[in-house]
Each structure stands twice: as C-alpha cells, then as structure tokens.
C-alpha cells in the first residue's frame, strides 16, 4: 500500500537539511504554503537557497523565513514589491544573495529540471543584461540564449486537495508554480486543504500525478471556502473583513 500522507506539517519538513535548495510555490500570497514554511522555520534548517517568484510579502510565510535569517540565496524574478521590506533590508545589508531570472525563464528552468532537460535555448532576455556572459545561438534566424535547469532538493507546494498516492488538484491561479516545482525537486511536499479517499479525485482533473509527490499533509480548509464552496468574506491576504 502506498501512503504518502503525513500527520502534520512538522513531520512533513522534519528532514530538510541545512544548505538545501528549497522550491516554494506561490505567486505573492496566492498558493504560498504558509503552514509548511512556518514548520520549516520551527524546524530550524538554515543556509537555504530558496526558489520562488518573489521574495516574500509582509511578515508572514516566505518573508518570515527570510526574517529568521535562514536563507543564504534567493532565485526569483520579482523581489521588489510594495510589501517586500524584509527582503529589501537583507539585500541592502548584503546579507542575502539574489539571482534574478526573467519569470518565464524561471518557470521553464524549473520545468526543465522536472522533465530531464539539460538546458534550453530561449529568446527571452536576449540583448539584455540578464543574458550577458551566457551562451547564445542563432536558430532559424533568431537569436536565443542558453538557460539551465533549476533542481530542488525539496519543494514545498500548496494545493487544494490530494489523495494518499499524492495526486493533486489546485485552485484557480494559486496553481502557478506548484506543478512544475513538484516535478523538479528530489522530495516534494504538498500541503492541501483536505486529503480525500483514493479514487475520489477525477483522473481527468488531476493536475499533478502522484509520481511527482512524496508527502501530502492536510492543513485544513482555507478561510474563504466552506465545504469546498467559495464564500468570500476575506481580504486579499485571506483575513476576515
């Protein structure tokens, strides 16, 4: 019997090592696995390299992990936001390394890792500072730049529902980086609102098949849903209004 479920977020992240490359799903706050990140902060691993689109918002989730000084380097496309004060302070103090990657190249580098691709030529970034020093090639009359995959030791992903085999469905635009990160990491840990019995997820609707997933942990229903139905009543950060 295959059972990838774990009892709680603490157990899910218990063996993440110092210095690990940790992929964290989410686009801003949408799809950010806050419960897993909180468990990682409590677990104490440090010297981490984080892969995310952003570099934290406000003081929770990824921003809290940065504030706890557990992150050596961040690979992202858009660190500077109106509420990225934690990252901004660390960066200005020279206490965190930044690798800035155009968003589509970031996504494709992650996808490539999960798909066993050793590198790819992309038109994005050609002629800009972000392609300087990289290998270029003209293919069919167009210039491309070589980009390499980004592998994760661990992926922390947020989704809506999963089963004990690790089949996963997401919700709306909170899907964002979840499927490609789950495939790109050696150990993929998915937090879901609810773990459902095997067979309950429609196979036609499964987005991340269980082969990519190592652990599934239920963290309870998000506040703007009741029994899976949207009820609203929250602000964009999910706080009651």
């Amino acid at each position: 019997m295959i059972d990838k479920t774990v009892p709680d977020a603490e157990a899910a992240v218990a063996d993440i090592a110092d210095g690990a490359t940790v992929m964290i799903s989410g686009f801003g706050r949408a799809g950010q696995p806050v419960e897993l990140i909180d468990a990682l902060i409590a677990q104490g691993a440090s010297g981490l390299t984080i892969v995310n689109n952003n570099a934290g918002n406000g003081d929770v989730g990824l921003a809290a992990l940065l504030a706890a000084r557990r992150v050596r380097k961040i690979i992202c496309s858009f660190p500077r936001q109106s509420d990225s004060w934690v990252f901004d302070g660390l960066y200005r103090a020279g206490e965190i390394e930044l690798e800035l990657v155009p968003q589509g190249n970031l996504a494709e580098r992650i996808r490539a890792a999960g798909a066993g691709i050793g590198g790819f030529f992309t038109p994005t970034g050609v002629g800009t500072q972000l392609a300087e020093g990289k290998e270029h090639r003209t293919i069919g009359g167009r210039e491309y730049v070589l980009e390499y995959p980004i592998h994760g030791d661990v992926a922390l992903v947020s989704a809506l529902r999963g089963d004990r085999w690790g089949n996963i469905v997401y919700r709306e635009t909170a899907r964002n980086f979840g499927p490609i990160m789950a495939a790109a990491a050696t150990r993929s840990i998915v937090q879901v609102d609810e773990i459902v019995p095997l067979g309950e997820l429609d196979p036609e609707a499964v987005v991340t098949p269980g082969i990519y997933v190592d652990r599934v942990v239920a963290v309870g229903e998000r506040p703007w849903l009741v029994d899976g139905a949207f009820v609203g009543g929250v602000d964009i950060e999910g706080r009651p209004v």
Partner: protein, 222 residues
C-alpha cells in the same frame, strides 16, 4: 490649444485597436486601464501570466478570492470560458507566439523598436524584472502605452535606449498622450495625431526624424 489626451482616453484609443477574438495581455499599471474600454459585447480573451485566460474585472466587495489574482497580485474574477494553467504553460503560450497582443508601459522605446521598461539602472536599486522580458518578445504585436515625455520633459522615444533593455526590436506600436507611432524599418512613423499636434512639432519634441503616416491606412491587423 490641446496637445495631450489623458490616460483614460489613451486606454480607450488602444482598446479600439484590439479586435474581437484577440488573446491579449495587459501589463501591470496603466495598461490595465485598457480593459475598462474593451466593448462589453466583444469576446476578447485576457491572459494573465500568473496562469489564466478569460480574466474578468475586479470582484464585488466581500467577494475577494485570494486564490484568484492577476499579475499585479490584485483580486480579479474568472469569466465563463476561463482556463487555469501553471506558470510554465502560461509563459510557453506567451513565448510560443500564441498571444495576439500585449500592452506594456515603457521608460524608453528606440527607433528600432527596442524596449526599456524594467530598470532605470540606478545604483543601489533592487532589481526586479518579473515577466517583462517574456512579454516583450512573446506577443505577435507589442503595443506600448506611455506619455511621450517624462515629467522632466525628456522624450521617451529615443534613437537608442540608455536604460537597460527589456527586449530588442520587439515593439510594434507606441501609443502616447500626443500621438500614435508605428515602429518601421525607417524609424518612427506618426500614425495618428491627438489634439493640435503636428508631425513637425513632434519631431522637435523627440529630436527624431519622423515619417508622416497619418494619411496611410493602418496595416492589416494593427
């Protein structure tokens, strides 16, 4: 004498050039205004690069869904016919040339269609690029929406960009508060004048040799 239209008028002007059936991406900031002027009865499918086609307007009060946001991380809605997808698919459809048009802001656009819109290169500034470079080279047509002049009165249309580039030779057309300019092999061509502007006055303002294309019908599909 009027030489400028306001931002909302400009958004309406751009919206008029996006035909029914288009798949379009409206960039963060002013370009987002264009969606307010797309005809309600025209099926134009909006793409948001965080992972949706068929994006609708902001939700009503009390109906904000934190899982449903646009590229600016603001709450939006999903229209009937919407589809969600992951980030690699979203940028694949952009890079793969499937989007008909995107509308972007700019710091500078050069005569050969180079775009600078992600960094002013200020020392000490925290760099952030997001999807700007992917959008610039991905869509079949790249429209820029911008004021012609900076607050200091300097032309944003230039012979060569001095700010760090976002994309090379990627801009199709520039919609400014003074006029609409096409990027052509011969440099900027004035497609349409707003208010009392003349091509000669715009040439003085920009310091560029401009072609007068105001009497020529718009290129097919533009």
């Amino acid at each position: 004498m009027t030489t400028r239209i306001d931002r909302r008028e400009l958004a309406a002007r751009i919206a008029a050039d996006i035909p029914e059936g288009s798949y379009a991406n409206l960039g963060i900031g002013a370009p987002t205004l264009v969606s307010d002027y797309l005809p309600a009865d025209a099926e134009i499918v909006l793409h948001t690069e965080n992972g949706m086609l068929g994006m609708g307007p902001a939700p009503e009060t009390g109906r904000i869904d934190p899982d449903l946001v646009n590229a600016g991380k603001l709450p939006v809605t999903a229209l009937p016919g919407a589809a969600y997808f992951h980030h690699a698919d979203s940028f694949g459809m952009m890079r793969g040339g499937h989007l008909d048009v995107c509308v972007l802001g700019a710091f500078q656009v050069s005569e050969r269609g180079d775009l600078a819109n992600w960094s002013t290169g200020e020392p000490g500034a925290i760099p952030a690029v997001g999807g700007a470079m992917d959008l610039a080279i991905g869509a079949k047509q790249v429209f820029v929406m911008t004021d012609l002049l900076t607050k200091q009165g300097v032309s944003k249309l230039v012979s060569a960009c001095t700010y760090p580039l976002t994309g090379v030779g990627c801009v199709t057309r520039v919609y400014t508060d003074h006029a609409v300019f096409d990027v052509t092999p011969g440099g900027f061509a004035v497609r349409e004048l707003f208010g009392d502007n003349t091509v000669a006055e715009l040439a003085t303002l920009t310091g560029l040799a401009l072609t007068d294309a105001t009497g020529i019908p718009a290129a097919e599909g533009a």
